[in-house]
Structure formats: structure tokens, C-alpha cells
Amino acid sequence: MQYIALIYGDPDLTPKHGTPEAEEMMKGYFMANEVYKRDGVFIAGEPLQGVETATSLRIRSGKTETMDGPFAETKERLGGFYIFDCDDLDAALRYAALIPGAKYGTVEVRPILQLG
């Protein structure tokens, strides 16, 4: 099965670039990536630019409306994701627990709907 791990965090609580904590966090991501590749579960995984760069759009009556900002203004924001291919939810949760972002925010794990 494939699972997506959505990494949410409050920017105020996430270590600032250049601090020892941030360095520790980067090391954590590096180590997690190593494990994912070693176990052959890594499909994709990327950090995202901040929500100040987000643009949302919707189509109403055939017209595209474009808005500055994320889908929802929340304290905890989507900051990155991973996609794993593993046996079951237990395995997905174990891999998600290696994500350093879980220490500062929340990681949401959802199965990917396989079509066909």
C-alpha cells in the first residue's frame, strides 16, 4: 500500500535556520531518508516553501478565481510530505515516526487511494 505523510507545524515552534536545533533536525531528516531508501519504501518526499508563497484557486461558474494564501489559515501549516510504499499502516506509522517534524508539529498519515 502507499501512504502519504503530511507534515504540519507551527513555524514559531520549528527550529530557526542556523541554530543548533535546526542542524539537529536536518540530520534527523537525512537519517530518516537513509532508512526509507535502505528499506525500499521511499516513493517521494519534499519540503515546501512557506505558506506566504501559497496561491489558492477555485473555478466558479467557469471562471477561475485566484487568491493569495493557503487553503486554510491555521497555526499549524503543511510544510512538507513523504510518500511511502509499505505493507500496512503499522509500517507507515513506524516510518512516519522517524520524521523530525513530528517532534515540533503533527504528521498526518493517510493511505493513497489506488485507482484501477
Binding site: 500500500m1 500496512d88 499502516l89 503499522d90
Partner: protein, 412 residues
């Protein structure tokens, strides 16, 4: 066709006693809760038709064999046989084996079943409901009645949980060693929640057929059989037995609650208490401490005392300290404070209660305990206010009568 009462009783008995074992065996082959349940239901209905001509020598094996065939039918009918070819082959092979004489013993897969039902990815209340439905063999209506829910609401909760298990890929397995202790704790917590629900008699004085306390003890005994020699499983069973041993002394003739201090200890079930104490000794000897053993030790200390005066309150304070290391919750701090008051630290206790007030503002036992302790320190007006808070928060008539009586007894 109307089945004879004896047949219906035989089917009911298998459905209740062996439901968990049969469902677990079906789940192992099908990996699909809804299908396993539906297939078992089909088999029970088939029994209504066939058993009047003669009850099979091994009713359980008969039901499992029929349920497997019904599952094959259902997969075929749903046109899902292409993506379930492997399952079909496995079911057919199992059917061949089962047809041999004598049929082989049904492997006990209930441990996998209980770990799946108590998976932390499910809502706590759904874990409780699923466990009662799948392993306890309770009907949706019985579970709903026990939790004062509508049957329809409980049915939806169960369906939601089963859908999540299927769609999120919650596995039907005994957890990996690195997850074991946390996952076992989740199972023990579910069983203890069931026990507590029965103990608090939150069903509002209404009599229900199913006693959740008995149900929880039954589940813990089953777990103790499936995971032998585990100190925490023994701790939980001991905790429930030593608590349940006091059940006859908990209510007076008018159905009002009686506080532990005022209970007639002659009414305690000595046999059950002894079994609980023996289990605790066995658990502690394994030198693998855990929160349920500590709670069992607390309950055991009360059970061993002849009166409130001879209770070892200092030891209780120490046990609550140990429990805080596992569960740093306001409720544990509340219990510690009460033990501290009994051990002679009334002033320190009231200070401790003030410190946790914000967290326990809506918790009835907090206000009841505080009222009691304020009364003891002679603060009548404050005690009366606290009793009123407790009464307003109470969920059962028994509890309200008990608190009212305590409040009326103030300043006399």
C-alpha cells in the same frame, strides 16, 4: 421455518461463546472485517435451517466451514474474484482440510483480533465497541444500551471503524516487538475502560442484560490465556478482581452508593479478592513493573485492610507517586492528594487540590473529594458549594443520592 427453542439456544450459545474465535479464524483468511462478520452471520442463519435435523458433533467447525463457503459465495457475487483470487484459493484449501475427518482444531487467532480491535489508530470509544462486538460477542444493541447510545449511532460507529481498518490498512497481526508494550497497553486500557464503564453504572440505574464488569474480566482472562506470564496482563486482571470483589458492598438497600470507608467489609467477595491478590503476587515476582500492577497494588492495599483506620495510607501515597511516573495525569494527582489527607496531611492535600482545579473543573469525583476534605477541615460553606458542584456533574442517580446524603450530613 420456526427452529425449536433448543436449537436456537445452541446457536445463541455458539454465537456468544465462540464468536471471537470464529471471527478471528475467518479474518486470518479474509483480512476483511465486514466480510468475516457477514459470512459468519450467513453461517448462523444456515445453522437455523440445518441443525434441527441434527446438531453437528463439532458445531464450531461446522460454522467455520459453512462461513468459509459463504465468504467464497459473497466474493464471487460481488464480482471481486479477480483481485481476490489468492484469498479464494486459500479459502478453498482450508475447506478441503476442514472436510477431512476428524476436522483439525481451529487455530486460535484471537490475539491478532484483539490487537486489531484495540489499534491506536482507532478512536478510543470505537476500540471499546469493536472489542465488545468482535470478541465479547455482544450485539450492537447491547453495546449501545451499555453506553446509553442509540443503536443506530453505535452501528454507524462500528461500521466507520471497520471501514477505517480496511481502507487505512490496519493489519490483522500481533504487533512487532518494538511496538509490543505500547500496543499491549492499548489493549489493557480498552479492557479497563469497559470495566470502569460497568463499575460507574453510568447506565442510569437501568438494568441491562450485560454486565460490563463481568465482560471485562472475561476478556482479561482470555488475554491472560493468550499472553501467558505477562506481568501487566496479570496486573490488570488482579486490579479488576480486587475491585469487583467489593461490588456487593458498594450499594445500600436503597441503591445508593456507599463510600469505601463506610462499606461493610463482610460483604466483600473473599474468594475473588484472594484470586486477585494471588495474581498480583505472581505479577510482581516477574519484576517487570507497570501501571496496571501499581493500580492493582493500590486496590489490593484497600482489600487487605480490615478498616479505613488500618489502611496503609503512607504506602498508598508512595504507590501513587510511582503511578505518576507512568501516568502524570491530574486524576492520579487527585487520588494521591486524597491518600495524603488520610495519611495525616490534610492541609497539604487541600493545597494540592487547588493546584489541579483548572484541569479537573468538570470532573465529578474531584468536587466530591474536595467537599469531603473541606468538611473534615471544618470549612462547612465551602464544602457545601463543592457538594453542589459534584451533584450537578453527576451522571447517575445512585451517585447523586450518595452526595446529597453527605451534604445533608454536614455541620451535624
Amino acid at each position: 421455518m420456526e427452529a425449536a427453542p433448543g436449537i436456537t439456544a445452541a446457536i445463541d450459545s455458539v454465537a456468544r461463546e465462540d464468536r471471537g474465535r470464529l471471527l478471528a479464524a475467518l479474518m486470518a483468511a479474509l483480512q476483511d472485517f465486514q466480510l468475516a462478520e457477514d459470512a459468519l452471520q450467513d453461517a448462523l442463519e444456515a445453522a437455523l435451517v440445518h441443525w434441527p435435523r441434527g446438531i453437528p458433533t463439532d458445531p464450531r467447525a461446522w460454522l467455520l466451514r459453512v462461513a468459509r463457503r459463504k465468504a467464497i459465495d459473497r466474493i464471487r457475487k460481488a464480482g471481486r474474484w479477480r483481485d481476490r483470487a489468492e484469498d479464494l484459493a486459500a479459502l478453498a484449501a482450508a475447506d478441503q482440510v476442514a472436510a477431512s475427518e476428524p476436522p483439525p482444531e481451529i487455530p486460535d487467532e484471537r490475539l491478532r483480533l484483539i490487537f486489531t480491535c484495540c489499534h491506536p489508530a482507532l478512536e478510543p470509544k470505537s476500540r471499546v465497541a469493536l472489542t465488545l462486538r468482535m470478541l465479547g460477542g455482544l450485539t450492537t444493541g447491547e453495546i449501545a444500551a451499555a453506553f446509553l447510545d442509540r443503536e443506530e449511532t453505535m452501528g454507524q460507529r462500528l461500521s466507520r471503524a471497520k471501514r477505517k481498518i480496511a481502507k487505512a490498512g490496519i493489519p490483522f497481526v500481533v504487533p512487532a516487538p518494538e511496538d509490543w508494550s505500547q500496543r499491549l497497553n492499548s489493549v489493557l486500557t480498552v479492557i479497563y475502560l469497559i470495566f470502569n464503564e460497568g463499575y460507574r453504572a453510568s447506565s442510569g440505574g437501568k438494568l441491562v442484560r450485560v454486565d460490563l464488569c463481568d465482560e471485562a474480566i472475561w476478556l482479561a482472562r482470555m488475554l491472560d490465556g493468550l499472553v501467558p506470564d505477562d506481568a501487566e496482563v496479570e496486573g490488570l486482571l488482579s486490579l479488576m478482581l480486587t475491585t469487583h470483589a467489593r461490588r456487593s458492598a458498594r450499594l445500600d438497600d436503597a441503591g445508593a452508593m456507599v463510600a469505601l470507608d463506610d462499606q461493610d467489609r463482610g460483604l466483600w467477595d473473599r474468594g475473588m479478592l484472594a484470586e486477585g491478590l494471588e495474581l498480583l503476587d505472581r505479577a510482581l515476582a516477574r519484576r517487570a513493573p507497570g501501571p496496571f500492577q501499581i493500580k492493582a497494588a493500590i486496590s489490593a492495599l484497600h482489600g487487605q485492610a480490615d478498616s479505613p483506620e488500618t489502611t496503609d495510607w503512607r504506602q498508598l501515597v508512595l504507590l501513587y507517586d510511582a503511578l505518576l511516573a507512568h501516568e502524570a495525569t491530574a486524576v492520579v494527582r487527585l487520588n494521591r492528594a486524597v491518600a495524603l489527607a488520610e495519611a495525616g496531611g490534610l492541609a497539604a492535600c487541600l493545597r494540592a487540590l487547588d493546584a489541579i482545579r483548572v484541569e479537573l473543573e468538570d470532573y465529578q469525583p474531584y468536587h466530591a473529594a474536595r467537599a469531603d476534605l473541606l468538611a473534615r477541615s471544618g470549612q462547612w460553606a465551602a464544602a457545601q458549594d463543592a457538594y453542589r458542584m459534584a451533584i450537578a456533574l453527576s451522571r447517575s442517580g445512585q451517585e447523586r443520592r450518595f452526595l446529597q446524603r453527605r451534604m445533608n450530613g454536614l455541620s451535624k
